[in-house]
Amino acid sequence: MSDTETPVTHEDSQPALPELTKRELSRSFWRYFWSFQISWNYERMQGMGFAWAMEPVLRKLFSRKADYIAAMKRHMVFFNTDAIIGGPLILGSAIAMEEAGAPASAEGMKVGLMGPMAGVGDTLTFALYNSIIFTIGASWALQGKVIGPIFAGVMVLVPYFLVRRWQFYFAYRQGKQLASTLAGGALDRLSESATILGLVVLGGFIPSIVHVVTVLTYKQTIILTSGKHVTQTVPLQTQFNAVLPFVFAVLLTAGVYFTLTKLKWSPLVAIACVFAIGLALGWLGWFAPILPVAAAH
């Protein structure tokens, strides 16, 4: 691998670049950490954040002002990827390539990886990890348990820091081999397995979180063995529970999913509809989040 990459040094007719020390690397990482997306804008998105994180490295590498300016310009371009999984990885490898005197490879790698990493990273962080920890946290919070928000906070604080730091230094060390490492299909399999985990958990999450039951009742007359006729008020929901518990929660979620995918409703329209339907059914007294205790008897 390394013998094919060495000639890249000749793409720029510069003298050998100085070696980076731990200091520049750590400054670059912390700049990324504290401010990666604070200047996010429609035109370059994370571009300025990326350039500002690269800046300590570029200043060390390019002592000639013209080279430094050219290097900064190289990185002040459009850039957007997942800020947690992807951002530090691409930053670390871009630094490695700049240090190796291969700025064109750095540019190519940025463009090539930002799209795929955005897809993988967004799925892993938002769709999977965040939705699990925040659903658990929120359900505890709704029970009045302070551990809910604390749990979510800690589960962000520690793992998210470690995963970013690890990516940055891993990518720097791996340098140019990075792209080929990730292209092996291992990443695809990993995110697919993660998706499966997410779907299994969702199957249980949805009924545990979506609360809607009917509070309608019907009268039922039964004849006791003594011959006495007794009329009871039976909640309709108990009949549903015997066959398909959480039937309304499932139907509601499936219904919204259908409107979003097949009917192409915007989420805002779906929210407005659920809002209106819920308000009406609750006001009429036909449905409630849970069965009232008295009716459950």
Partner: protein, 254 residues
């Protein structure tokens, strides 16, 4: 006034956390609402309003760069306003959601304003790059946060400022009982939207059969969620093992 200022600052700090260090993901309504509850001295209310909005918002945080309802400011504003309602949590939480949710949706329109205004900063930064001024670029990078911070801070500040006035208190007296029942049900139903949105970005067509597994474990067997997650890990590991043996097998033949 002081409380309004604090909540305005909190809202700006929350969006900073999202864009910058992501220490707590403070932009998530669960965290933003709880912090707002802490500031106004009513943590349980903040947790309840934030938690409900969180479950509504679940699938929203998915696409990088797209404007999403501002549930963060919605949770802060909803918590702040609901605290002025008398009658305990049962009366306060529905009001908090009734205010927080529309507020989140209304404030969506401020988000693109912030994302557009920041473009002005980047062009100034280009000039600094041409001059080779690293200090100038640093300055532009950090001040570009101003539109972001204001877009979240000002609405939270103004709404909290209005909370103490008689307008809100009068509104609360006019709320009929049916409305409260309806809003409570809405709170129970809204997470369905969050889950449905989450499902749209997952490969449901390919792996739909994973959903009933979790459902049966929970609904019929009453397995706690952590137990369901462990089963999920097992299935995912089996899948990964099968997949990698499929990949490696032809290699061995070569």
């Amino acid at each position: 006034m002081f409380e309004a200022l604090l909540l305005g600052l909190l809202s700006a700090a929350c969006i900073y956390d999202v864009l910058g260090p992501t220490l707590l993901y403070a932009g998530r309504p669960l965290i933003a609402g709880s912090l707002a509850g802490l500031i106004i001295g009513h943590l349980t209310l903040g947790m309840a309003v934030g938690g409900t909005l969180e479950l509504t918002a679940l699938g929203v945080y998915t696409y990088g760069g797209a404007s999403t309802p501002d549930y963060q400011t919605g949770a802060i504003v909803g918590t702040a306003l609901a605290a002025h309602v008398v009658g305990g949590l049962i009366a306060q939480v529905p009001v908090g959601i009734a205010i927080g949710l529309p507020a989140a949706i209304l404030l969506t329109s401020l988000d693109p304003v912030a994302r557009t205004l920041t473009t002005l900063w980047i062009h100034r930064a280009d000039t600094y790059v041409d001059e080779g001024s690293s200090r100038g670029v640093t300055w532009m990078h950090w001040t570009a946060f101003i539109p972001w911070g204001l877009s979240r801070g000002i609405p939270a500040f103004l709404a909290t400022l209005a909370a103490g006035t008689s307008v809100v208190i009068n509104v609360e007296h006019a709320i009929p009982a049916g409305f409260t029942n309806g809003m409570t049900l809405v709170g129970g139903m809204l997470p369905a939207v969050g889950f449905a949105m989450l499902l749209t970005i997952m490969p449901v067509k390919r792996f739909w059969f994973m959903l009933p597994i979790g459902f049966v474990l929970f609904a019929y067997l009453s397995v706690p969620l952590v137990g369901i997650a462990l089963v999920g890990v097992g299935i995912a590991a089996i899948y990964m093992r099968l997949q990698s043996s499929n990949v490696e097998a032809p290699k061995l033949n070569v």
